[in-house]
Amino acid sequence: MNGLAISSDGLTKDYRKVRAVDDLSLGVPEGSVYGFLGRNGAGKTTTIKMLLGLTRPGTGSAQVLGLDILKGHLAILERTAYVSETKILFESMTTEELVRFNRGFFSRWSDEAASKYAALLEIPPRQRFGKLSRGNRTKVCLLLALAQKADLLILDEPTAGLDPVAVDEVLRILIEDHVSRGHAVFFSSHHLAEVERVADWVGILDHGRLLLEARLEDVRSQFRRITASGNGLPSKASPPVLAWSQSEQFWKYIVTRDSEQFATALREQGAAVVEVSPLNLQEIFLELVRKEAPCTSGSVGATHAGVV
């Protein structure tokens, strides 16, 4: 499995004339928590659906838990737990019935875990799914996924609709009960603070293209915003520059490493370096996806998970 729970190579998907996923090559290390970020319509859900065999890729290939997504999708589903973005289950079934229905499909299903999470998440066992609040529906979906005892959790907006206490509980469960056993979590989210709290790796997708894939620790320790003023400063994104922008006389660069060397190089070109500041995930995300056109091609300047 070359140490990756998920890997893809040039994965592309078109819906009629719209390219939903464009030449996506990502790597999710085993035992990691990977935050898959992007705006609405960025291609996150389409990517997840391709990984689970719900949608066929146009070109490219991908492996989940070392299994090809086209040839081994049933084996992938046996070892992968998935919570969809929509969180739609059978409205007329109670939580108990959903548990009974679901456990028949999975050989590693744990009734003990199901009971434990139902109690922890305070899920009403005998209420019909259709009568549950949005938050409780999300909890039921998470309960079904967690009780599978899967090797990989793929979660599409897993905390949508949950109150802060429930979010805290869910994230704690993910880390303590799932990741601590060496299993990977691949989740998409709009809540950058949550991602920053639990993820080891982040991937930022926009217009179907992976703009950044990096270890969050590297983002914290090495990614910097350099603000400079001057004439004839570089205006292209090539490593270590991940993105750049210009407003009035100031040029802003986001560099993925070697920020001091880059600042020195700017000074040597006659620029005045005003500030070198660390960035949080939200700032990087906004900087990357706010632009009309992606400013980089693929994961420029970032470390690819596959080479760790």
Binding site: L54, L74, I88
Partner: protein, 222 residues
């Protein structure tokens, strides 16, 4: 487990249509002439064919649109297809549960007729009526399979049901135009009954619709 779920989703419909069929057939009992067994038997036969076809067709459309079609409507197909279970097994399980319910529905008139004949006339000629079962089941299964296929094509049970009723209406109108009236249609149905053993040979044809639906589901992108 999916069998249980399919049965759970459709059991009320099955019970309601069974009850309706029994009520309609029971309502014809007072009209049977007790002193003329052969006339009574002929009348009962036509009643069974008429109500059996009517209820059977409505039930077939209803059941055919529920199974996988309703999963499309509800959006629960995504959940279902991320269980480690081949798609064809989901489809054929759903189809088999509905087909079993239709077979039950097609057999009910025979049971009722047997009871009625025994108590009314002291004699049982149900073997003649057994010929009705293939007609009712064959017709209902064809309609059921068609609805199944429509639901898959249109990715919606509701749309599948509308398309099925539309196609049935078109078929009835075409038959009326071809046969010259509703009386001819009933006679036509009775003629088919007399050849009902041959209908068994047509059973593979009934499987064409779910097979086509399976091919669609196997290729469907959710």
């Amino acid at each position: 487990m999916y069998v249980w779920k399919c049965w759970r989703d459709t059991r009320w419909r099955c019970l309601i249509y069974s009850a309706l069929l029994m009520i309609f057939l029971a309502a014809t009992l007072p009209a049977l002439p007790p002193d003329r067994p052969s006339a009574a038997a002929a009348f009962a036969f036509v009643a069974i064919v008429f109500f059996g076809l009517l209820i059977g067709i409505v039930a077939a459309v209803s059941l055919g649109s529920v199974s996988i079609g309703e999963e499309w409507d509800r959006g629960s197909l995504e959940f279902l297809l991320t269980r480690p279970y081949p798609r064809w097994r989901f489809l054929w399980t759903a189809w088999a549960v509905g087909a079993g319910e239709l077979l039950t529905l097609a057999t009910l008139p025979i049971l009722l007729s047997t009871v009625v004949e025994y108590y009314w006339f002291g004699d049982v000629h149900a073997w003649r009526l057994l010929k009705v079962t293939p007609l009712l089941f064959g017709t209902a299964s064809t309609v059921y399979g068609t609805t199944f296929l429509f639901s898959m094509l249109l990715r919606s049970g509701r749309k599948g049901m509308n398309a099925a009723f539309g196609s049935i209406a078109a078929t009835v109108l075409a038959l009326l135009g071809y046969g010259g009236g509703s009386r001819s249609m009933v006679l036509y149905a009775v003629d088919i009954v007399s050849a009902s053993p041959k209908l068994l040979m047509w059973l593979p044809v009934l499987l064409v619709f779910p097979i086509a639906a399976q091919l669609l589901l196997e290729r469907a992108e959710i």
